[in-house]
Symmetry: C2
Subunit: 270 residues, 2 copies
């Protein structure tokens, strides 16, 4: 998906909500376990209930891999359903892959070609030649980890180097020199709003994928204060807060209300 199409959706829906599909068999309503494909059935109902309030969906690949072949079938069914029924929705494979060039090309093939996601999250540790195979898909977006929402982000990402840059700043600056870097977006955790100002100095216009609102404790107002750009420039993700708002037959309705509440809060910022 081209960026103008995403920006148009944000304006139409007055939303920059991304719904994270971290679908956990142990947490979905019991009655769905009688279905032949409970994970997909859960996702389908969540998507139908929340798509009018969201501009993006983000399956978290670990949750599907944990189910083996059945999980890959559910992932394939989910992305096919999104692409067929909601072609205006931006789709993100939250995979955090990163490997040498010939291997990165295989991951790109898996998620961009076979599964036809619009975007994938990737890890920067292995540098330029581990990311450029993704960036070579100029109709897709590559979302680089910069400053993550977890506590362990402070182990390495905020380390100051001899040029006085934190590692996350160095990742941002270096990534801008890579081929097709205009296809980059960046992951920045909502739990670290005080860092958005320095990040926006380096990438004033890039889209940021922001996890950590809700269960992880991040706050939408803080994120918007420094994160917003003239084209919005934010995709704020909520997973558990929406998916598991209720665990009976009303789960989709409860998810819809949570998504609606987030969209209404977002409408006041865009």
């Amino acid at each position: 998906m081209e960026l103008p199409k995403l920006i148009k959706q944000i304006r139409i829906k007055k939303s920059f909500l991304c719904v994270g599909l971290d679908t956990d068999l142990a947490k979905i309503p019991q009655y769905l376990h009688k279905q032949p494909n409970p994970v997909f059935e859960f996702n389908r109902q969540i998507i139908d209930a929340t798509a009018k309030y969201a501009v993006a969906f983000k399956p978290n690949i670990a949750f599907y891999e944990a189910l083996g072949i059945q999980g890959w079938e559910a992932l394939k069914d989910t992305i096919t359903y999104l692409n067929d029924q909601y072609p205006e929705i931006f789709t993100i494979a939250d995979a955090k892959r990163g490997d040498i060039g010939n291997t990165a090309s295989k991951y790109a093939q898996a998620f961009f070609e076979n599964l036809n996601f619009d975007a994938i999250t990737v890890a920067p540790y292995m540098g330029k030649d581990s990311i450029e195979p993704f960036l070579s898909y100029t109709n897709k977006h590559t979302i680089l980890l910069v400053l993550t929402s977890n506590k362990g982000a402070f182990d390495f990402q905020t380390k100051i180097d001899v040029q006085n840059d934190a590692l996350y700043e160095s990742v941002l600056k270096t990534s801008k020199t890579w081929n097709n870097s205009k296809q980059l977006m960046y992951v920045v955790g909502a739990t670290k709003p005080e860092y958005f100002k320095s990040i926006r100095k380096i990438v004033p216009n890039a889209f940021l994928l922001v996890p950590g609102v809700g269960a992880q404790g991040g706050n939408l107002k803080d994120v918007c204060q420094y994160g917003l750009t003239k084209d919005c420039g934010l995709l704020v993700n909520s997973s558990r807060g929406i998916l598991y708002a209720a665990n009976g037959k009303d789960f989709a309705k409860a998810a819809e209300l949570k998504a609606k509440a987030l969209q209404e809060e977002m409408a006041s910022y865009v």
Copy 2:
């Protein structure tokens, strides 16, 4: 697998060879495409031909994901075959995963429980809480990326911080403070032998998984000079050089000869 069992195998076989199963449908012999499961059939023949010269096998997960559900079936068949037929072999999922705790737990479940690998490669960027869910499996090994074999390794991994540590040194030092850190091994590329000395100062006894011998240009003698410990402490990987030594019906025999040549060179060091 417990470490003493791996060390015993290294002594019995006089080998620290890891065969990388980066199995690419486009590169395997044409006649195998007539088989119902060509990737597994290729792997099975490679494993049978090379197992007597190798102590470890390392499927590169990207190559299986690129084939979708069929790829996951081939991966499952391959690890099951290894576990059933060669229980003395150390198995590594080369997955380079890394995500927040609840997601990392799902990846650990996928590779340690469902597929029953002995080890997985992981990326350090997200820090302690992204790695400890793997380390909590105290009968398994978690292999952390430290200094990789590719050119992009110089983008971030060798950046010097204000404590005068390169990032890869900081990753090594910090990782030693994590819970169950004795379960850690480390990825260090064979293409960077001049760094082994500084790495061995920080982790004098840990096992290092060393890719990059062969197609990527690394040299076994250089790696052994500083990398070897009293218990060997090295697993040196070769993928393309063994797998694609020939591309006709003689491919397994050609692979066997390549593995044998590497084992014979290794025998002079252990």
